[in-house]
Assembly symmetry: C2
Homo-oligomer: 532 residues x 2
């Protein structure tokens, strides 16, 4: 018996005790080519023992490539599940976000078909049946959902994330429930609502970060549940991203900016609800707020990382709303579980379709902060594809928050090392090699060099401001020279609203490929279109 | 005396009769460098006699370049105002959308600083003071608003559009009102609400296209009104865009698609609220709906054009919500005014911050349809800059609707003529020269060739589908060859999630510049980075 209660305690819908089975017994439910919906969001609350049992089965019986699935999951899940599945060639399609070396390798070598989408749109499109429209049933074939408990009426209580559980339940008639008894129940932390399809979609009437509009469990028809499996495995959350001088400098620029905005009366004294992405810069920003001058803060975001516990402990954070509790396996989750009383009532976990919905994000006026791969001088941002072609993780919710926030900010180091040059990659380029967020979506760009406030600036003014405030000193002159040449050429041809030269806009990227650095000797290019 | 009532009838706040003056008398209020807010949206409901009097003054006194202003207006206004101002060098900055030959010329030659923004964000950012933060007062210096009437309490009744009137009133203390007695009053058609700044922003609880959440006039402090001017000039609306075979073919593909979606149960029988942009394709789509099988339609959009009256007359349209009534000067407006009884109660005009707000657009589940400049094989779209550098009109509300719709569709002819080749410009290209809407935002692309349903497709699948269904036959083989070369190269390097080749992604654009057509002899390129 677990210290957190037995399976019998957690399965209060007694008819479902008949469906209890070992993970291995679920293998027969899986057929090659199935569309699967999993719970889980940015490694938290995902099913574990069933996916692992199936991977073991494939490995033991040499079924690599013979049992392949299409995976629809709120965001990434633990490497012991999706990344291992990728290694065993068990994934055909994967939507809309993933993490792991092997799955990324499969995607970029063309073995796995991945698509990314704004997470809020992924959730609703899944519920509308857009991803399963070409299958015979038009539905997901099988759902695997990790739960804390099954209530008497069959409704389910999620664990550390809500993901797209409501949408999965809308379009799936065969459900496997993994009841996690290896950790305390999360019952009471969630605010759950199944969004109806238009024209009947409800008002999401959240007017402050902690407000609740739903219930603590979500309806689930017990007759659709084909298996109940016990799990004692915990989330293999992201390791804590270390802060460094660069991220501290960025955080300081951001705190200074907030201070100025409060003074000018454009932000309330307790700011507005914070959305902060993942990684070292996000950690530094949250760390900066824990030490900073602002009180009674709120957070409305999609992931809560370890540093958010520090912000709670500082006494400066009143409430946090998120889609998932993405703490590290250690020390994050143990720290949370040992102090649940302190954090529980201040946290609300919501489904992706509500945590990332434009409606509450605009109404609350979130301050959106995310890290791109690169940004260009006109303030377009690449969040997904290195070199414009290689997928890292996916778009995530960056667009949901950047398009709808009160302030829309992106932060990045000004440069990154290439193999041969410590500043060989400039994160400020003439033209992004892939564009996920447009110039119409960003207010501020921040690097360790400074903060460029772009509000109210026309494109050429934006370009000079970004180069001046944000570019690494090794690239300032080079980028200015490009802008000058492009501006002169385009204005002379009377096509100069936003100057670019298509024979050399990507010269920095091509030079990196060829010579291992974005540092150019000059902006000359001889291009022969070979038309003759 | 006008047949539509006297100025005295319209100015019911009697203390403001003291402020009545001739347009020429307002000239003294204008100083060089001022930030001005105007009513108006996509030539409707904009001030006329005051801007024209000021233009006459500049012309008569040779003040060109000596009286320049920053113009903040919901969208474009009549050519007799902003385009004439551009000719007289009276515009320094212009946000966020414009139409007119001279103003576009000024922007692309670098004389006028323009910035475009998603219209819903422009509205709120204007209200937040983001555009006026660097001026001494932090406010707009002067507002010019066309009204139908001034109520007893000083509140104002707009005319044919609502634009950003609420936000202008929030941040402007000196207001000129143009009372238009040259047409019937629009009192009763508007649904007006001033959105409060977060954290106090209201719920916009619209649950069907015709639902009203505000009032028919908007509060205005009479002590801020410095002049009341009578105008009898009417909107110089857009001429009716003729339909042609191409736009009819596109409309037919769209109607067929709707029929399939209704059959599959993914759309209700009366569809969902339609958003349709401007131009000949939009006209053809609305025309197609007037003749088509669907009844009890609704419209939730930002502009209503002449064909919308046909859709009403067909008996198939129950309600239309818009930011403006953008009818043609003739026959549109006379037809509307002569049949006001028939149309008035079915139309709701709302401020931009509500007509274009993500909140109602997602809740209602709009079907968003807009025309881009070009689209690329991975479904990024360029809506604003020809050749990636020359501004046409601006982004408008395309992103508000495409990001938030139930179905997100873009329609374009598959090719356009260049100077020397009737199909010299392919509207499907390997990589857009400017990206306003990303691959994460589009569900369907339609040309006269066909409709590409991209839902659930990974990038390389999308590319093949778009080429197959949408590209002009003159370009199908050429685009496929590019995709094949790029795919082979990128997959070999294991960076092939979304293949591109940066030495030739813009070869079609460069060839157009050099040789007058996007048709290539081959995909070879010799590029010398001139690094040695």
């Amino acid at each position: 018996m677990s210290e957190y209660g037995t399976l019998q305690d957690r399965v209060q819908c007694k008819q479902l005790l008949n469906k209890v089975m070992a993970p291995e017994q679920t293998i027969e439910f899986f057929k090659n080519g199935m569309n699967l919906g999993w719970s889980g969001f940015t490694p938290a609350g995902y099913p574990k023992v069933v996916p692992i049992a199936l991977a073991d089965h494939v490995e033991k019986n040499n079924l690599q490539g013979k049992l392949k699935f299409n995976l629809f999951i709120g965001a990434s899940v633990g490497a012991e599940t999706e990344d291992r599945w990728a290694t065993l060639d068990m994934i055909d399609r994967r939507w809309p976000y993933q993490t792991g070396k092997n799955i990324a390798a499969g995607i970029n070598a063309g073995r796995i078909r991945m698509g990314d989408k704004h997470l809020s749109l992924f959730a609703q499109d899944l519920g509308y049946g857009f991803y399963t429209k070409d299958s015979e049933s038009g539905k997901l074939d099988l759902a695997i959902i990790e739960v804390s408990a099954i209530k008497e009426d069959g409704s389910i209580v999620p664990t550390s994330s809500c993901g797209v559980i409501p949408e999965i339940l809308m379009i799936c008639d065969r459900i496997i429930l993994e009841v996690n008894t290896g950790q305390p129940s999360f019952e009471g932390i969630h605010d759950l609502l199944t969004p109806l399809t238009p024209p009947n979609r409800q008002i999401f009437g959240i007017t402050h970060a902690g407000e609740r509009i739903g219930s603590t469990s979500i309806p689930c028809d017990p007759s659709k549940v084909i298996a109940v499996v016990e799990s004692k495995l915990r989330d293999q959350g992201r390791a804590f991203a270390e802060q460094d001088d660069t991220s501290e400098a960025i955080a300081n620029h951001i705190i200074d900016f907030f201070t100025t905005e409060v003074k000018a009366g454009r932000l309330p004294k307790n700011l507005l609800p914070i959305q902060s992405g993942v990684g070292s810069i996000a950690n530094a920003v949250i760390g900066g707020l824990a030490k900073g001058p602002f009180k009674n803060l709120t957070v409305y975001t999609e992931v809560l990382q370890d540093t958010m516990l520090d912000l709670f402990d500082s006494g400066k954070l009143d409430a946090a709303s998120s889609c998932s509790l993405s703490l590290s396996a250690s020390p994050g989750f143990p720290r949370f579980f040992e102090n649940m009383d302190k954090y529980f009532d201040k946290i609300t976990l919501r489904p992706l379709s509500i945590s990332n919905a434009p409606e509450p994000i605009r109404r609350l006026g979130c301050i959106a902060m995310n890290t791109p791969v690169e940004i260009d001088i006109f303030a377009h941002a690449n969040s997904t594809l290195v070199g414009g072609t290689r997928m890292i993780n996916g778009l995530g919710g960056s667009g949901d928050f950047l398009r709808n926030g009160f302030l829309k900010m992106m932060h990045t180091p000004s440069s990154r090392p290439s193999k041969t040059d410590p500043t060989g990659i400039s994160c400020v380029v003439p033209h992004c090699s892939h564009i996920d967020h447009t110039e119409h979506d960003l207010d501020c760009v921040i690097t360790e060099q400074g903060l460029a406030d772009l509000r109210g600036l026309a494109p050429k003014e934006r370009a000079r401001r970004i180069i001046e405030k944000c570019a690494h000193p090794d690239y300032k002159a080079q980028l200015t020279e490009y802008l000058n040449i492009a501006e002169k050429d385009c204005l002379a041809r009377k096509v100069g609203h936003e100057p670019q030269l298509w024979d050399r806009a990507f010269k920095m990227h091509l030079n990196l490929e060829k010579n291992g650095t974005m540092k150019l000797k000059n902006w000359d290019v001889k291009i022969d279109l070979c038309e003759d």
